[in-house]
């Protein structure tokens, strides 16, 4: 089965996020005074061929741990869905 995968890489809780802090400090100047808790991450999307969803999730988790994230400072949020295949 083909799965559509989205990995959101974010800095771990407690790791300083200077990009997020800088964006947050800039917003009041544009009149957006109510914004707080800005965190900057990155999103990585790909398709994955796997036997079933559990296998796909296990493979993506391993891929994230070994390559897409640096576990010392980053976490991954993984979304896996059956890919819509054109027929």
């Amino acid at each position: 089965m083909l799965f559509s995968v989205q990995v959101e890489v974010s800095l771990r809780e407690g790791v300083a996020d200077p990009q997020g802090a800088t964006i947050e400090r800039s917003l009041p100047q544009l009149g957006f005074g109510g914004v707080s808790g800005v965190r900057v991450g990155k999103s990585i999307r790909f398709d994955l061929e796997a036997a079933d969803e559990a296998a796909a999730r296990a493979e993506v988790a391993d891929l994230c741990r070994r390559f897409l994230t640096n576990p010392v400072i980053e976490d991954a949020t993984i979304t896996v869905a059956a890919a819509e295949v054109a027929r």
């Binding site: 800095l11 790791v15 300083a16 200077p18 802090a21 800088t22 640096n70 010392v72 400072i73």
Partner: protein, 225 residues
Amino acid sequence: MAPRIGVVLFPGSNCEHDVVEAMRLVGADAEILWHGDAELGGVDGVVIPGGFAHGDYLRPGAIARFSPVMGAVSRFAADGGPVVGICNGFQVLTEAGLLPGALQKNRGLKFVCTTVGLRVDSTDSVLTGSAEAGAVLRVPINHFEGNYTCDPDTLAALRAEDRVVLRYVDNPNGSVDDIAGITNAGRNVVGLMPHPERAISPLLGSDDGLPLLASFVAAAAAVGA
């Protein structure tokens, strides 16, 4: 015979020639090693220089560790061979698992390019063996992601085992415990953010990098002997 130092060139490295020149100045026979070659050609010491290996894509060092040369570097290090990673090279060594911890963006999101004071806190490593303990060296830094971090257990181990070899006198980037350079348990792999190869002559503002480079060449000579 002069010890042979190999300086690894990745696509995006930009300090390799500086390191080659600096190593020659302290008596080594230095050469460039291409990242796509899976062997080291019998060198006695390896330097991973600064720059932006593989464009720093994904994270600094994240792609470089898949270069064919890194398997050979890992085996060389495991056999006790002297390895030093400077700046981006430090980032590559942490991503490759040869050194613990990680280098995150500088505190305050500031790119820093200046000369800093570095205190030699351990002379028990391939990069500090002939430096003077407690000496403060003036060495340039030039980085965005030089803010060293690690989990509390790793930090405790680094301290307990005297593996923080260099500390900033005035912390420029937010590194935990003012860490500028660390070594592995075997004391033959060192990573540091500052650039000793840019402090090799009073004409450059400082020659305080020389004792560090000379230490490394001496360690490589001991391997080659």
